[in-house]
């Protein structure tokens, strides 16, 4: 652990308000002048089940979740069984404590609720405390909250106590609380906050060196996640239509947009399924609006056919894909990067779409804007690919980052005046699919414009959009459509998404995509600090691929580690596909247990793999060969603590 940071975790039952308490505490840390990142763990279940929320805070630049944490606030799981059924998971209530001990740093702090948790139920608890030099502060939070009148204030009580334990000033906490509460409720919360704060100091005294560091921001910060980045990017780019169907983790973007669009003069639609959602976005776009849809996993799978319709009819649309564990319903609330290939290739025929995978909140905002620009500049579908980790992890960004001009323009769409000018003499229809169009993009009229009418069809069509199966027309239309990618690549080159982080010509290179950006950069920094010659590159441009930059990066290194959150090395294979080489040079570092990478896991895996090793001390897999074949000839060393329920042997 870094001395200059605090990593605070609140653990409890799903549905117990862990999330909002965690976010408020995070805001308080941010307002005190620190940089923050958050990570959330929760089960696919509405109430009950162990969940936690972790915030890392430091005056330093932080890019990922921490490798371990040092303050635990363990509330009990308040999950009450139906009175009609008998509870059988006897120890569920103590999970907020037991499940969180493995990652707690030496010398860490534990505040727990004795009103729910009895440490006698926890095997070797006292031994572990002693061994790890943990500082334990038991308080009967439930009882205290009850006495103050409302049991739900347990969370606030716990916050007050941990604030005391780490010397965090109550003012910024109160400040944050007053944003969302008022009157009596605020008052009693502040009261209990202060009460437990003082009680902890009184009853226990504080005698450890885990304290909140000081920090100061140059300018005002906002706390946002990838979903905000995407939604705000879409709004600022003039998106005024969304259609969708809820699905974790995509729902976040959908909910933000659904709430804001009416205020922004747009419209949001929750519809009967994802086929309708994508089809509606296409219909809205066809009628002249900047439009989006999106989903996760199976929901996006249902969009395959409408996505093809957008490709075939050259209707611009932005689709968002939020990855979670697959295949099928998979791990609905866990993170994974395993939909890359799906998003690249789903839908029959030669695929014709732009795919961008932003690496952090700022990139989420900017690349969503880029996706709209490309979609509406080239009349093509553009997909923003992200994941549960980027979606839900919050971080601070200067408020001024969002101080930008909106841009509702649609480059390849015509005004009525332009339609009149461009319409060929004597033609009844508008040549919406003209062979010779500049950059391969014939601009489009909008229904209702005089003299703009045209046909469009998912069938191959002629220059006016009429179905036409003539072989020569076919080849011309295909070539024209494909020719757009050159120009799109040129546009993307200006954005310079793929940057090298670290040495110019390193011995070791770490290549990742999407949300692993921060983790890999931090890991590379650690390795560099340890004396390794290393550089990192995070790739966002999936299609069209940035051959030049990635090839250059690989060429310059001696060994390249491709880090990704899936089991079949999809990104590594994508690189191989695009670059047709580097068989020996690439080694995969894979994680697919549902949790995101931590920097230490990458460091550890690189250290092992650089020597040709195949084992790590984490649930991480090293794979030197490039294909599925040989999969079970290698070893994964797993944490042996959990064997999975119901081992039949």
């Amino acid at each position: 652990m870094n001395d200059n940071e605090i990593v605070w975790r609140i653990a409890g039952g799903s549905g117990d308000g862990i999330d909002s308490t965690g976010t408020n505490f995070t805001k308080a840390l941010m307002r005190s002048g620190l940089n923050v990142t958050t990570h959330r763990h929760y089960p696919s279940r509405i109430r009950g089940g162990h969940t936690y929320y972790e915030v890392r805070a430091s005056p330093d630049d932080i890019k990922a979740r921490a490798d371990e944490y040092n303050v635990l606030l363990a509330l009990g799981d308040s999950f009450a069984r139906s009175p009609d059924e008998e509870a059988v998971y006897g120890n569920e209530e103590v999970k907020p404590l037991t499940e969180n001990l493995d990652d707690l740093a030496e010398g860490g702090v534990i505040v727990y609720d004795t009103g729910v948790i009895d440490t006698d139920d926890i095997p070797d608890f006292d031994e572990r405390v002693e061994e790890n030099d943990w500082n334990v502060y038991p308080l009967n939070l439930r009882e205290i909250a009850k006495e103050q009148g409302r049991e739900v204030m347990r969370n606030t009580a716990g916050v007050g106590a941990t604030a005391a334990a780490i010397g965090f000033d109550l003012d910024s906490i109160k400040d944050v609380m007053s944003d969302s509460m008022g009157g009596d409720i605020l008052e009693s919360n502040v009261e209990i906050l202060r009460y437990t704060h003082d009680l902890l100091l009184e009853e226990h005294g504080v005698d450890h060196d885990v304290t909140v560091p000081d920090g100061e921001h140059d300018e005002e910060q906002v706390l946002v996640g990838g979903s905000h980045g995407i939604a705000y990017g879409a709004l600022d780019e003039g998106c005024r239509f969304i259609a969708g169907y809820p699905m974790t983790p995509w729902t976040d973007v959908f909910a933000i947009m659904s709430k804001l669009l009416p205020e922004f003069g747009g419209v949001a639609e929750q519809v009967e399924d994802e086929i309708a959602a994508a089809s509606m976005a296409i219909g809205a776009s066809h009628t002249g609006a900047k439009a989006m849809s999106g989903s996760s996993g199976g929901g996006f799978a249902l969009m395959s056919e409408p996505l093809g319709m957008a490709e075939g009819t050259e209707t611009p649309v932005v689709l968002i894909e939020a990855m979670r564990g697959g295949p099928s319903t998979g791990l609905p609330t866990k993170t994974e990067q395993s939909d890359l290939e799906h998003v690249l290739y789903t839908g029959q025929g030669d695929s014709m779409r732009v795919v961008l995978a932003p690496g952090d909140v700022e990139e989420a905002y900017e690349q969503t804007r880029t996706a709209f620009q490309l979609a509406y500049g080239y009349n093509i579908p553009a997909i923003v690919l992200y994941d549960k980790k980027l979606s839900g992890g919050l971080t601070n960004v200067p408020a001024s980052f969002f101080d930008r001009e909106p841009d509702p323009s649609m480059e390849a769409t015509l005004t009525e005046e332009e339609v009149q000018e461009l319409k060929p003499e004597g033609a009844q229809d508008f040549p919406r699919f003209e062979y010779g169009a500049e950059k391969g993009v014939p601009p489009r009229p909008v229904p209702g414009q005089k003299n703009g009418r045209f046909k469009t069809s998912g069938n191959e069509h002629d220059q006016y959009g009429y179905i036409d199966e003539d072989p020569d027309n076919r080849v011309r239309q295909m070539d024209r459509r494909l020719s757009r990618f050159d120009h799109i690549r040129d546009d993307l080159d200006e954005q310079d998404h793929q940057k090298v982080h670290g040495e110019e010509s390193p011995e070791y290179a770490v290549l990742s995509f999407g949300s692993n950006k921060g983790v890999v950069e931090e890991a590379a920094e650690t390795l560099a600090d340890e004396g390794w010659s290393v550089a990192a590159m995070n790739v966002s441009d999936m299609v069209p691929f940035d051959h030049e930059s990635v090839r250059d990066f690989i060429e310059k290194a001696e060994q390249v580690f491709v880090v990704e959150n899936n089991s079949t090395a999809q990104f590594r294979h994508h690189v191989q596909r695009e670059l047709a080489g580097y068989d020996e040079k690439l080694t995969s570092i894979l994680k697919y247990d549902g949790d995101p990478f931590r920097p230490a896991e990458v460091v550890d895996a690189v250290e092992s793999a650089a020597e040709g090793g195949v084992e790590t001390s984490y649930n991480v897999k090293i794979q030197h060969e490039q294909s599925r074949k040989g999969r079970d000839t290698e070893t994964v060393k797993r944490l042996e603590s959990v064997q999975g329920r119901g081992d039949p042997q």
Binding site: F241, I282, T287, A289, K290, M309, F402, P406, T413, I467
Partner: protein, 312 residues
């Protein structure tokens, strides 16, 4: 001034103005009922004085789906079963367009059945024409959801074991506010019903009997037909009374397979607001078309920075 001057413009149009020069001639089989839908639609829009540039026709895939190739307007030939959601969104973005969706019985009642149900429930303001030829035409004669029990084809050598679905009573139960059945053999009625459907504010569903002489010889002749509005025997139901309409629809649906072709209007409800109006009323849809904003230089584009404070 509107960015879409074709909309609402006073237009003097004739039926022929809806004939595309590039595909003036539909390629349906000789005797196909689809020709009559095309003709009736041209006549209806001419009667209503609609400019071809203010009409957005969305079609599915099937012989029927080719309607948009032979009809001169903005035309979107979508994918199988999805014309309705594409059309719905079109109407939300520009409620001033005349949005018409069309497709086959397989397209609309089979693969697209769920969209049909939910579009009716939501009462989107549009006209939906289902070419009901009781068969999959384009893919060569397989049974459709409206094929009679026992229909024989390559796919069902022993005859279709499935009972046909009931488009009229389903539309009503689902929430459609205008429901009619007409037939290619009765082009005059077809045109009139189309005019009414287009004028109706809400979801107007027309089950259009279109004989398919190529694959469905049994159902080839929808004659003699009875216009229920003109018939003494069948006119004792109220167009705006759901319960009696439902009964009449069941009778009509059963009748079709017993050789009694009943056509006409079956339900019309002018009280229920359209979905567009519901949304506007709640402040969930702007009063002016969203499509206009993109061409309005003075439009005030709200930006995320204006709401960023809540993240501080």
């Amino acid at each position: 001034m509107s960015a879409f001057s074709a909309i609402g413009e006073e237009t003097d149009v004739e039926s022929d103005d809806y004939t595309p020069e590039l595909e003036p001639q539909a390629t349906w089989c000789p005797g196909c009922g689809d020709f009559i839908v095309l003709k009736a639609l041209k006549q209806a829009l001419a009667e209503l004085g609609k400019n071809p540039d203010e009409v957005q026709l969305m079609t599915g895939i099937g012989c029927s789906g080719k309607l948009s190739s032979y009809f001169e307007s903005y035309g979107f030939h979508t994918i199988h079963g999805r014309a309705l959601p594409v059309a719905r969104a079109s109407k939300l973005i520009n409620p001033e367009l005349e949005v018409i969706a069309a497709g086959g019985d397989g397209d609309g009642y089979g693969i697209g059945g769920n969209h049909f149900m939910h579009t009716a429930r939501e009462n989107h303001d549009m006209t939906y024409i289902v070419f009901n030829n009781e068969v999959f035409g384009l893919t060569k004669g397989q049974p459709s959801p409206t094929s009679p029990k026992g229909h024989k084809s390559k796919m069902t050598p022993h005859g279709n074991a499935k009972a046909p679905m009931r488009p009229l009573s389903m539309a009503l139960s689902a929430g459609a506010t205008y429901v009619a059945r007409t037939a290619a053999v009765n082009p005059r009625q077809a045109k009139e019903i189309l005019v009414e459907a287009i004028e109706h504010d809400g979801f107007a569903h027309i089950d259009f009997l279109t004989q398919c002489p190529t694959w469905n010889k049994d159902a080839k002749q929808y004659v003699p037909y009875i216009d229920v509005q003109d018939s003494d025997e069948y006119d004792d139901f109220e167009l705006d009374d759901m319960r009696s309409a439902w009964e009449m629809m069941r009778t009509t649906e059963d009748g079709l397979y017993e050789g009694k072709v009943l056509t006409g209007r079956f339900y019309k409800d002018d009280r229920r607001p359209s979905y567009q109006d519901e949304k506007k009323e709640r402040g969930d849809l702007p009063q002016t078309p969203i499509a206009e904003d993109y061409f309005d230089d003075s439009h005030d584009w709200k930006r995320s920075y204006e709401i960023i404070d809540k993240h501080k």
